[in-house]
Subunit: 355 residues, 2 copies
């Protein structure tokens, strides 16, 4: 009833502009104009065309427009495989807010996994260099490189999220990892804690450096020795958060001088650590205080409710998408601008003064 594509065509790929033109008794170009710039065509003709289009169920072929226009309306987001697991809803939340913002501006979002194989890097580079996408968002990742081409050389507008790549002149939307961690540490110091366990993944990566730096800052300000920070983890990726937290608890058990407070760099590490030390007989927060990073909604329902540095995921996604759209629209690219969206420390029952 709505669709009319010839005689059941089997493969008939839907009506074309030409079909609409024929039905309306005008030239193809007139149809095109009626659709793109309605006020540049006579009202009556326009009406006729619109009616024909509706009657045929015509939908413009997006690929043909893209080819003609020399640009697509696809945005690619590069996601590290390691962030797909765990309880923190960083990925879905950010995808949702980005996608909503992009859709509102007429763009579509394509996902590109950045796994640890070279195929995925090549895929991404093909997309970037093959004019398949109009812009890219790169989420907490390094720049793909397949040996002969590097993402750094792309002519695409790119915005980095979470990781600060403004030094490479990619505009970046980040949070204040360092200051937030410093604030959390100061909070614990204020409660009387002096000895900390810092649990991390992938020691030395951007987030670890920033966050650890924040802890050190706070210690220095309070004139506490750096040696009071015991490190745990550091060898695995964020994807392994639960394992990192569990192992940190084992590590904790072996320590002669126990830290009284824990700073975990992801929710997964925090909850698995809490679960394991509880089984060892420690109480939270009486024996151990703990604050984590990410602050997914589930933290409020942990036992005890988990204090956390809450990353403004939605806001970051929105900001990044808007920045990218703006870049595209203004036909720019470089500019090492840096948007910082602050994280908030949410204190819940997992912290208290040491006993």
């Amino acid at each position: 009833m709505k669709k009319n594509k010839a005689i059941s065509g089997e493969e008939g790929n839907g009506p074309l502009m030409a079909d609409v033109a024929r039905l309306a008794g005008v030239a193809i170009s007139t149809v095109s104009r009626a659709l793109a710039t309605p006020d540049r065509v006579n009202a009556k003709t326009r009406e006729k065309i619109m009616r024909s289009a509706r009657q045929l169920g015509y939908t413009p072929n997006a690929i043909a427009s893209s080819l003609r226009a020399g640009k697509s309306n696809l945005i690619m987001i590069i996601l590290p495989g390691s962030l797909f697991y765990g309880m923190s809803q960083v990925i879905p939340q950010i995808l949702h807010s980005i996608n909503t913002t992009l859709a509102r501006n007429g763009y579509h979002l394509m996902i590109a996994n950045l796994d640890r194989d070279e195929t995925s890097e090549r895929h991404i580079l093909n997309l970037a260099f093959g004019s398949a996408v109009r812009g890219a968002l790169i989420f907490s990742s390094d720049l793909p490189d397949d040996g002969s081409r590097s993402f750094a050389d792309t002519a695409l507008p790119v915005v980095s999220i979470l990781r600060d790549l403004s030094g490479l002149s990619f505009p970046s939307v980040v949070t204040n990892d360092r200051a937030a961690m410093r604030e959390a540490t100061e909070k614990l110091i204020g409660l009387g804690h002096q000895r900390f366990l810092y649990i991390t993944a992938e020691q030395g990566n951007y987030h670890d450096r920033e966050r650890y730096g924040g802890v050190v800052d706070a210690m220095e300000t309070a004139s506490l020795p750096k040696e009071n920070i015991v490190l745990s983890g550091g060898a695995l990726s964020y994807q392994e958060g639960f394992r990192i937290g569990t192992e940190a608890a084992d590590h904790f058990a072996t320590l002669a001088e126990k830290p009284t407070a824990v700073l975990a760099t992801s929710d997964d590490m925090a909850v698995s650590f809490m679960s394991a030390v509880r089984q060892q007989g420690w109480r939270i927060p009486e024996d151990i205080s703990i604050i984590s990073f990410d602050g997914s909604p589930a933290c409020a329902f942990c036992f005890p409710p988990l204090s956390a540095i809450e990353q403004p995921v939605e806001a970051m996604g929105r900001a990044a998408a808007e920045l990218l759209v703006d870049l595209i629209e203004r036909n720019e690219r470089a500019s090492g601008q840096r948007v910082v969206i602050p994280s908030r420390l949410i204190c819940r029952e997992s912290i208290a003064a040491p006993s």
Copy 2:
């Protein structure tokens, strides 16, 4: 160094096949062949072409190929906005496994939010009818419809995930909601429980019907009266899982005859319920046993560790993507086939015999 695009062209959209041809001293078509069907061109010519291509950093224009071929290699996944929140990692996990499978077969994954506004429905229909995508995965959603076009009429290959749409002749990859819930209920009945609180979202939707049905099945088999199932929630979407669980705890507090076991239809509902009833002074599992649905990895680290029906998210994603690729490759579409990937009941400390 790698890229050579004329004299810094400003807008020069990268080298074309024509550039490669010129550099190699052959015709464009020969370049095309050398890239697509290498053995149909002289080894020496091929070499020359490959070298030129590499030297220029040539990457084929994906849009042009798609137009020429009459088909894109984009797959769209339709995701309901309501599933982007909460602790269960259904969305990221399934995106990851789908994307990996698709990438291996040369396809790319595009996200389409299905929010509650008509714009998003129109967007999706434009994609489906505008030849922009080659196939679609529809994740636990109803079929988009903008009033004049319906997704049901699309000529695209479509696979439904989680929701059984095989009746509408869309191949579907689902889990055994009903049987799994039945098994969970039987487990609790076996422990001696006779009175249940069933917490749900969106009463009457596909998942609710299936899951509730499973509870009823188990009750009937055990000759327990249906009245022993107390319902909570049912008015909000899955997105509101934490709120649903919290409210269910309030509801629980008002009940004269307390259920001794709880069946929650998402992890979010379960953890927020546990958190709230604990504050009311109840103990789990001594006073209340609880089993949830989804079984995200974090369940193992709850307090107490949460028993759950674990959905095989990865496997479902992989199966759906493979099914879709197969459909595309074999040029088919309809076929109400239904792949069931069973969920597993994982028992942890949140259940025990009633006291």
